[in-house]
């Protein structure tokens, strides 16, 4: 399996391919649509992430020192963004997740081409991912 950094680089490469923001958005929308279905039982308030304009639920599970994330949102662009985060973080151990330096967001131009409220929501998502990882690391 690829490292977190490798996955980020891959995403950056993919986005470099796009000519303008419409293509980037279209890609995010498509990603959002193809995100696997979320278990409806996990759509609970305690899984909600604060600071997003739309509802974003994030759930995690831990097995064999590996964290698996799954997520959903009622807005499709948010869903696309979170699917990128899941692709980057899911399947790694807590230590790697905690130590990861997330630079792909800026590099793919999400900061300037996604509205910054979404960018803030995105930060909340990353924070929540790291909180889960920290919890699992402590539990070990």
């Amino acid at each position: 399996m690829k490292s977190i950094q490798e996955k980020q680089n891959q995403i950056i490469d993919e986005f470099n391919f796009f000519q303008d923001w419409t293509e980037k958005y279209q890609y995010l929308i498509d990603l959002g649509k193809s995100l696997p279905d979320f278990d409806q039982n996990n759509k609970i308030d305690s899984n909600l992430i604060d600071g997003c304009q739309s509802k974003v639920w994030l759930n995690s599970s831990f097995n064999d020192n590996i964290v698996i994330f799954e997520a959903d949102s009622d807005a499709i662009i948010s869903k696309g963004i979170i699917s990128l985060l899941i692709r980057v973080f899911s399947g790694h151990n807590p230590k790697d997740i905690l130590e990861a330096n997330i630079d792909f967001i800026e590099k793919i131009g999400l900061n300037s081409h996604l509205s910054q409220t979404r960018a803030n929501g995105l930060l909340s998502m990353i924070k929540q991912i790291k909180i889960y990882a920290l919890a699992y690391q402590v539990k070990k």
């Binding site: 419409t22 958005y25 929308i29 649509k33 304009q53 807005a75 499709i76 996604l114």
Partner: protein
Amino acid sequence: MLDVYKIREDFPILSKKINDTDLIYFDNAATSQTPNQVIDVISDYYKNYNSNIHRGLHSLSVDATNKYEETRLKVKEHFGITHNHEIIFTSGTTHGINIISSGLEKMISSKDELIISEMEHHSNIVPWQMLCEKTGAKLKVIPINENGTLKIDEYKSLLTPNVKFVFISHVSNTLGILNPIKEIIDLAHKNKSKVLIDGAQGAAHFKINLSELDVDFYVASAHKLCGPTGVGFLYGKSDLLNSLPPYQGGGEMISNVTFDKTEYADLPHKFEAGTPNIAGVIAFGAALDYMNSIGFENIDAYEKTLLDYATENLRKIDNIKIYGDVDEKISVISFNIADHHPSDIGSILDQFGIAVRTGQHCTQPIMDHFKIPGTVRASFSFYNTKSEIDLFIDAVKKAVKMLG
């Protein structure tokens, strides 16, 4: 009617670029833009006569005091108010409502009832909930029809003898619906109930005469009237204002302070404790002048053409639902398309340089009523154009296409 291209030159922000395209500002219900005529008054204040007001003997203070009080005269004139001292400067609509809700604490008991409506802004809900919690009074809610209008028959039956107060918005910020406030006030008065009208949205679109309306309290915010942030006013009939306790303690609101006894100053000072937003109040006066120089009849008529044009063209989009699509409304359109999340549409519109608001617009009960997470809200002002609406309609269509 009005020369929109000439008017646009007064608003520097309208020539701004977003994402390399021209900004289209359709978030006027949240806050209006500010013309040079108002911005310059603020600069002029700080450059020429910035000073604390009242009780000052030196020229700057006198100039600042006079200009500050001139705005009171302008508000009086513009809103058809009988006495200067019935106008209290506030930091905005929310502040104005809270002056009343906190002032009523001692006058409301557990037997009393208060009426609001389902379409109120949170600022006209939460203070009354807080008041009811403190006093045990009962809050009754006028429901809305499927088209968003108030159920006036229900209002009539809610108007029982125990109803002390009715709190209703002049215009709904989410639906744009203009409420029949004259009828609401008259019915309330027949029932010996007092009425507060939340004019945050109403004051910006047409000239109103508060004496003729015979309303007991009226509140509004300058920032929705081409004025600055942090300023608003509360109008109240003087006997009512006199009967309320002061809201805040501080400088200016007292006439005599000893440790034994403190006497409160007369209206309006009783409610204007502390150094006010002097520059803001003065600029608010300039904003009223500006809008009056264009003319509220012109503003109203022009905005109506924008509303009609936009509504007509939006209606042609498949699966669009416009909330509050009635005749008596101002230039605010809330909508959803198919089951796309409003924030998805809003984000894409932002990429096109189009500023609309998405979400609940501080009216969660309306969202609960329609069982939706929010709406896309486009609100037009007299400085917007039909060609902006064309671009907006176009962008909405593209967004829908992208969202698939």
